[in-house]
């Protein structure tokens, strides 16, 4: 994999390092090359760049110190929490990497108002273990349990446990600006004058500035705390699964049942993905499996014949009577759309898949079942959102588009119903050999072409900013405003400039 040296002037880097060392000491500041290398990029097979220095802050005051030095000297700062699979946190401009994983306190678990305040280094596994004894669960995505909750929620990670009417798990943020100013959003903005105030309201009497820091990848401030929604573990947890013979039927089903408030959340899995999960979660070796071959030898838009084309998982919690009634209604809606209940069949025919679904959707545990699949290389984030009428043709288009471009491995997907079906999330998942650079290049090119075509043809919207495509200049007045905000907050452009969010490609 290509690894670039830091483009920063070495004298400037040395000066910044000297000041950081003097202010924070060797325990928190390092220039050791072997350590720097491990922060040169995320786990995605994308080109990496060496930073000049890595700082591991323990407190918000440490972050203030770093930013004031960096701002005065005009040295880039790239924040990384878990640094796993997001393309947004490469230190492409060199300079300072802030390893936020060292700030790992769960500051508050507010069981009365159902939120928790956490620092960036709190992984989802640690988080769910901390809130469960209080009778709460967290929104979970299908990501490893060590991953930063803040990193995921801040990037609008679409976990599988949200209430379907809620579009963000973030109630409030604490952010440090380049000049060291500490910003708290929502009700907490008034903390200095009214010390008793909590994080319960995401809006106050002023405009909601929370949003400018979400999905901003550290370009507008360094997030040091997040108040996240947590959800009660009600009396009963249930996960009715319905099988459908087309994605279109599944989308219609998700729209109907979420708008009728029958489920907390629903998500659809393509047959390729639930079949792979059965192999992985059963402890099998995917490459020895005939099912595995079938997945990658069959055109993914074709019906597999012996199993539903897709499964829709319906996450439900509540009182037993309600859950029973809602389950019956779900079955009725599914049957009306040509679907069928699948739980018994799953347990019998796809026990690994069911174990994963159960762990995730009933036990509300972050899962590791899928992680063996990383041996196939990483899935790029082919994520698009589209309206229900558009997402159905987009699915077929995407599967054909990627298949026809000839990647070594096949493609599959999952799809969330968001905000009661106003927008449908579709994440296609091609896998790429982790050591085949030519395949990476091809995958990256396919990725960008697919996103572009999806937006153009199907009115879809993407979510990940990856530093390659300039979305700001495509966003009209919104983009202009964003640039002005960036200039006002970060006039020296020290915050994650390598992402080039405001300046075009790299």
């Amino acid at each position: 994999m290509r690894v670039l040296e830091s483009p920063l002037d070495s004298k400037l880097a040395e000066r910044a390092t000297a000041e950081l060392l003097e202010a924070l000491g060797e325990e928190k500041v390092t220039t050791r090359r072997a350590i720097l290398f491990t922060y040169s990029g995320t786990a995605l097979p994308l080109p990496k760049t060496m930073p000049d220095v890595v700082v591991r802050p323990k407190t918000v005051e440490d972050v203030q110190v770093v930013l004031r030095i960096a701002d005065r000297l005009v040295v880039p700062v790239t924040p990384i929490s878990s640094g796993t699979l997001e393309p947004s946190v490469f230190p492409r401009a060199g300079g300072i990497v802030l390893d936020m994983y060292g700030m790992d306190e769960i500051v508050e678990i507010n069981t009365d108002a159902a939120y928790a305040v956490i620092e960036p280094g709190v992984g989802i596994g640690k988080f769910v273990r901390a809130i469960r004894p209080h009778g709460f669960r967290a929104t979970l995505g299908s990501y490893p349990p060590g991953n930063s909750v803040l990193g995921n929620y801040h990037l609008k990670g679409h976990g599988s446990h949200r209430a379907s009417g809620i579009d963000s798990e973030v109630l409030g943020l604490e952010v440090v600006l380049p000049d060291g100013t500490i910003v708290r959003t929502g009700s907490k903005a008034f903390e200095d004058r009214y010390p008793g105030i909590g994080w319960h309201a995401q809006w106050g009497p002023l405009p909601d500035l929370r949003g400018i820091f979400l999905n901003a990848c550290g370009t507008l401030g360094i997030i040091t705390k997040m108040a996240a929604r947590i959800y009660a573990l009600n009396d009963v947890q249930a996960l009715p699964v319905m099988g459908f013979d087309s994605y279109g039927d599944a989308v219609e089903f998700m729209k109907v049942v979420s708008r009728a408030n029958l489920v907390e959340h629903c998500v659809t899995w393509h047959w390729g993905l639930y079949t792979i999960m059965n192999i992985l979660a059963s402890g099998g070796n995917v490459e020895d499996s005939s099912d595995y071959l079938k997945i990658f030898m069959t055109e993914p838009w074709e019906h597999p014949g012996d199993r539903p084309y897709c499964l829709t998982l319906n996450i439900m919690t509540g009182y037993e009577d309600d859950v029973d009634t809602h389950t019956r209604l779900l079955e009725k809606v599914a049957k009306g759309l040509g679907g069928r209940p699948m739980n018994d069949e799953l347990v019998e025919r796809f026990p690994g898949t069911w174990d994963y679904f159960k762990t995730h959707g009933i036990d509300h545990e972050p899962c590791t079942h899928f992680m063996k699949g990383f041996g196939l290389g990483y899935g790029f984030m082919h994520i698009l959102y589209a309206e229900p009428k558009d997402v159905v043709p987009l699915e077929r288009f995407g599967l054909e588009f990627i298949w026809n471009r000839g990647l070594q491995y096949g493609t599959t997907y999952y799809s969330h119903c968001l905000d009661q079906g106003r927008s449908i999330f579709l994440r296609l998942t091609p896998f790429v050999d982790p050591v085949d650079e030519a395949e990476h290049e091809k995958a990256l090119s396919i990725y960008h072409d697919y996103i572009e075509e999806g937006m153009k043809r199907y009115g879809a919207s993407t979510i990940r900013y990856d530093g390659i495509v300039n979305y700001v200049d495509r966003a009209g007045g919104f983009g202009e405003l964003l640039k002005r905000i960036k200039k006002a907050i970060d006039p020296n452009n020290i915050l994650n400039p390598g992402l080039k969010m405001y300046e075009g490609g790299w």
């Binding site: 050791r32 290398f37 786990a43 596994g125 899962c367 992680m371 990383f374 041996g375 982790p434």
Partner: protein, 390 residues
């Protein structure tokens, strides 16, 4: 450089599951990786070692003293392997990088070089003359297995044989085998190092030399069962010797065999000890060899012993801090890791911290002495012997 595990080293998603117990079903968050917990930089975590290997492979990282310092600040406790959900083996990758360090820099860092030299010159890591090896047994009349046929060969190991504070392992074992009426013997002065330390330090040639010598000697004697006191000897003989040469004998840890003798009624502990203890799983018995129950069965068989578990036990045990050359090369780090363990043991309310490895016992005893933790440190055999005494 050609790295045989190149596919695997690229599958780490940096999820840091190698550093803590994050699998589904766990109820309490526990930090498990000593080096990452102490230093915090990802390079020190199991996953970080995979990235270092990538950097070396790609020519971005040179193998220098600094890289060696990171790679050898690892006890190879294997917790990362136990936790990893991607079928990754960061411990083997760390060992592989160590082998590259040895090739590039001529040996492991610091005083660990002395250990290697001593193993090659004296056939023990402690620079002790051959004559010292059997001094512990003076006057005991132990059979010489090189001269007469025995059912069980007791392979004492360098630490229990040559470090005066650890010879109680050997003395206890002899007492217990005698009490059970076992026909056993030792190699006496002919015993040589098992090679565990050189193996873990990445000095492959030295390891193969002593391992090969041991295998040849033990095969020639025709012994069926080799009993070891040391978890390191046990693990390397059991798990690594077969790739050096064909091994015609079984390797059994003392605790395994004593548990069997208890089951057979050949040992009958009777004296109540009235002692609350907690058990420390040595990495090389536990994660390396999956031997968790036998030591506990022994403790449970001793009247008056109450066993309480630490939160980090069995597969999730926290390392003692001594292994893989760390105590020799980085004594401060070894003391910190051991200190964390002793704190955890003290928090259980136990009066004694019991283990089943002379290497673990050595570091934990040093830490207890330095911190005045108010705990006694024992080997499992210490308690069993006391319980058998009239």
């Amino acid at each position: 450089m050609t790295l045989p595990m190149e596919m695997l080293m690229y599958t780490c998603p940096k999820c840091k599951i190698c550093t803590a117990n994050l699998h589904p079903g766990e109820t309490e968050y526990l930090k498990l990786c000593p080096a990452y917990t102490r230093y915090g930089w990802f390079a020190y975590a199991g996953g970080g070692k995979c990235y270092l290997a990538q950097g070396i492979r790609e020519g971005v990282l040179e193998i220098d003293e600094d890289l060696a310092d990171i790679v050898y600040h690892c006890t190879l406790c294997k917790t990362c392997v136990q936790q990893c959900a991607t079928d990754q083996d960061p411990t083997e990758i760390a060992r592989m990088v160590r082998r590259e360090v040895v090739k590039a820099l001529g040996g492991p860092p610091g005083d660990a070089k002395i250990v290697v030299k001593s193993t090659l010159n004296y056939r023990n890591p402690y620079q002790q003359p051959k004559a010292m090896r059997f001094r512990w047994a003076k006057g005991l009349g132990i059979k010489d297995a090189t001269k007469e046929k025995v059912d069980t060969l007791y392979y004492v190991g360098c630490t229990a044989a040559m470090i005066p504070e650890r010879t109680h392992f050997a003395l206890n074992t002899v007492k217990l085998l005698d009490a059970a009426g076992e026909n056993f013997g030792t190699l006496g002065q002919k015993e040589i190092c098992c090679g565990s330390t050189t193996y873990n330090l990445g000095v492959e040639d030295a390891f193969k030399e002593v391992a090969g010598e041991n295998i040849e000697m033990l095969n020639e004697l025709g012994v069926e069962r080799v009993l070891t006191s040391c978890a390191g000897c046990y693990s390397v003989m059991k798990n690594e010797y077969p790739r050096v040469a064909r091994r015609n004998f079984d390797v059994v840890h003392v605790t395994e065999y004593l548990a069997q003798l208890l089951d057979e009624g050949r040992l009958k502990p009777s004296k109540a000890l009235d002692l609350k203890v907690t058990y420390h799983d040595p990495c090389h018995l536990g994660r390396y060899s999956e031997l968790y129950d036998a030591p506990r069965r022994i403790l449970e068989a001793i009247p008056g012993v109450e066993l309480v578990e630490m939160p980090r036990s069995r597969e999730k045990s926290w390392c003692c801090g001594a292994g893989a050359g760390v105590k020799t090369a980085f004594p401060d780090f070894a003391a910190w890791v051991g200190g964390e363990r002793v704190k955890e043991a003290a928090e259980t309310g136990a009066a004694a911290l019991v283990s089943a490895c002379p290497f673990c016992e050595g570091n934990l005893t040093d830490v207890v002495a330095a911190t005045e933790a108010g705990l006694d440190v024992y080997d499992v055999t210490d308690l069993l012997v006391r319980s058998l005494d009239p």
